[in-house]
Amino acid sequence: MKAVASVTHTSRAPRRAPASPRHRLAPALIALLLVGWLAGCKLGAPTSSDSKALSLLAIFPASGEQSAIYVSMANAVDLAVKQNTSLGGGYTLSATHLDETDAALGASVAQALANPQVMGAIGPATSPGAEAALPALAQAGVVTISPTAMLPGLTQASQASANGVTFSQLHPKGKPISFFRQTADDSQAGVAAADLALASTSAHGFGAHAVFVVDDGTPSGKAQAAAFERELKAAKGTLTGSASFTLGDAVGVQTAVSAIVDANPDCVFFAGDAAAAARLRATLSQSGALAEPLLLAGSAAGDPGWGAAVGGALLGANTTGLLPGQNVTSMPGGKTFAAAYAAAFSGAQPTPQSALAYDAAIDEISALKALIAAGKTPTRAGALQAVATGTYSGVTGKIAFDATGDLASAPLFAVYATNAKGVWSYQTSVTGKLAAA
């Protein structure tokens, strides 16, 4: 679906957020809401000649197994924009939503960027989405902050080739770094997961010595798995086996489960996306290995859609997840953000990812407002420089980026675990390690 339009918030079709964070919206309802939302984007669009009507792009998937999270992220951008519709000096702000699952996302982004009033972008949420969108964004010099895209090669030239990323397309020669992310990368997540696997149970770890590693065959999954295995080996842990399967390969996941049962490890680490994680957990549980502890790192951790993804909440038990970021209640501004989010979206509770998206938007908005307040004409280059060099204190804490666009500080992870009924609950937070130079 292509949907490119600028719109003021008051003209957008209303959207309902999930009534309860523990219940995922029915896919059909989500699709309906997103269709309505995207259709609404076309209403009341200002023309490009309206030079003080600035816009931010919000690039998130409009469908997929984690739609509840994606909707919350888009909501958060809307909330940030709504709180800053007037930027001062006669400037106004709106958001333009693009569907990250658009097969022609790169072209859609390029089309949106033809509007010179687009000053920044929030998203994409996923690494494949980032790979598709970044060439156009980088060419246009538009500051882009992804809350959740984790592939190391998106920011680190040294990792790009191993990740299958053509770094020069994402970061054209002669252009300043314009892509930033607020999340740990897959390597950092793999390292943090290994440390958690080996940690004692009193530290919310597994106290494991022998670990079986499974990845989903994606560049992100491979990068996470490799980092996990390196850290495990360095800490004198034992790799009892490894397997890889791609989403949709029923025999592949069953074969991985058989290998896990054969190896009988202390725990299994899964490296990959949420949908594949759900398949592995479901297959383990359905094959008689419900008791096998599963550790994962990524957006599946704490996902309110987990129960549905595994085919029934009970099948999702015995799972621990490391979410790059913090639990909303642990964020410095979490309480205030949650209240504002609930007020804006019919009492819905925000996800941790939505707080990251909110901070990304506010970071860019603050840059624009600072330029305007200084009597300068807001430009893409000005906004980019302000984000790249500044430090912003937001809901999630202080945000500053290093020269590659990664977080300047060691990343935080929230640890979630499912109970016997397969429902996630927040356990603790752990601090990861800085990316290797």
């Binding site: 029923a250 025999v251 069953q254 074969t255 489960v257 058989s258 049962v261 054969d262 009988n264 297959t283 549980s285 359905q286 094959s287 008689g288 290995a289 419900l290 008791a291 029934g312 009970l314 099948l315």
Partner: protein, 335 residues
């Protein structure tokens, strides 16, 4: 691979050959002959008739018993005695049903993630003395008897596993000639292969079968793979829920080239650890046959004690005991 068990302490329950042979000689005719099922008639018969209307895309996982359910089965040998299992005749089976249903409820309570589906594990193809059953060293079951079991299963919502001991009859021959019409027609029919009673259809294999129980039978992975592929095609062609194949294993030697067994997304394969004896030995076998060599799903078999029969489990394991196995078996049968 070393089995963690004392061979002397564990034996597959003999078939009481003399008795079984006598029964089948009397009641069964047409051993090994192709048989076509009578046309289904009446409401009961129509319950299990597959819907063959083409409504693409067909998904064989819809309505499939595994891995969604746990199958609790009662074993029997057509024409056998009480010690051959409660399903050996319909009168014994009917009398056993209340106990059977209670057993199913116990398993359901122990694992809420797997509702229980009750089933019959019915041996319809029994190894026999070659002198009396010269073609395959095995007997078959007549259509009327099979239909009586089918109707019983329809009435009681049971799966029906056609369990085959085979003698020297190749798997493909036995399946196609004896159970194909039922597998194609009734969505609740499944297949089981008892590997230790199967011998190669060669002079050497025939000599071994003739000397049974001097020698232990075996089955090659290629024959198991044939069955997997056959069941997958049957499900897809006739739009039936994914079928289940149970492969019995009593000894490491009874399945050759086990690692060459190839899974299909359209068939659920259970490797059942078989054999009576002490709990420690049975658990050891399960570890070796299932946990350390898992194909897809685990299966476990229990042997009730019967008066006058010394081939039973001691102690007899409870559902709680069975569910403490890892992986938890998805197919449990009671003989």
């Amino acid at each position: 691979m070393t089995a963690i068990r004392a061979p002397e302490a564990r034996r597959s329950r003999p078939l009481a050959l003399a008795f079984t042979a006598l029964c089948v000689v009397v009641m069964l005719a047409g051993c090994g002959q192709a048989s076509a099922p009578p046309p289904a008639s009446g409401n009961a018969a129509s319950l299990g008739i597959a819907n063959v209307s083409a409504t693409p895309p067909f998904d064989p996982s819809v309505g499939a018993p595994l891995p969604n359910d746990r199958i609790i089965a009662v074993y029997g040998i057509v024409g056998g005695g009480q010690y051959n299992g409660p399903a050996s005749n319909l009168d014994m089976l009917a009398a056993y049903m209340p106990q059977f249903q209670q057993l199913g409820q116990q398993y359901a309570a122990l694992d809420p993630t797997h509702p229980v589906q009750l089933a019959l594990d019915l041996v319809i193809n029994v190894i026999q003395p070659c002198a009396q059953f010269s073609k395959w060293c095995a007997s078959g079951t007549d259509d009327a008897t099979i239909m009586a079991y089918i109707q019983f299963c329809q009435q009681h919502h049971l799966l029906l596993f056609f369990d085959m001991q085979l003698g020297v009859e190749p798997v493909a021959t036995a399946v196609v000639e004896q159970v194909q019409p039922y597998l194609q027609k009734y969505s609740f029919t499944e297949l089981a292969l008892d590997t230790e009673f199967h011998f190669p259809n060669t002079p050497a294999g025939y000599a071994e079968a003739a000397g049974y129980p001097c020698c232990l039978g075996w089955m090659d992975a290629s024959e198991i793979n044939w069955a997997i592929n056959y069941l997958a095609q049957t499900s897809l062609k006739f739009h039936l829920p994914r079928k289940v194949l149970v492969v019995h294993q009593w000894d490491p030697s009874v399945i050759r080239h086990k690692s060459a067994i190839k899974l299909s997304p359209d068939v659920s394969v259970v490797l059942q650890s078989d054999g009576w004896g002490g709990a420690g030995n049975k658990i050891g076998d399960y570890q070796v046959f299932v946990q350390q060599n898992l194909i897809e799903y685990g299966g476990y078999k229990l042997f009730y004690p019967y008066a006058g029969d010394n081939q039973f489990d001691s102690p007899f394991q409870s559902p709680q005991d069975v569910m403490s196995l890892f992986p938890q078996p998805l197919f449990v049968s009671y003989q």
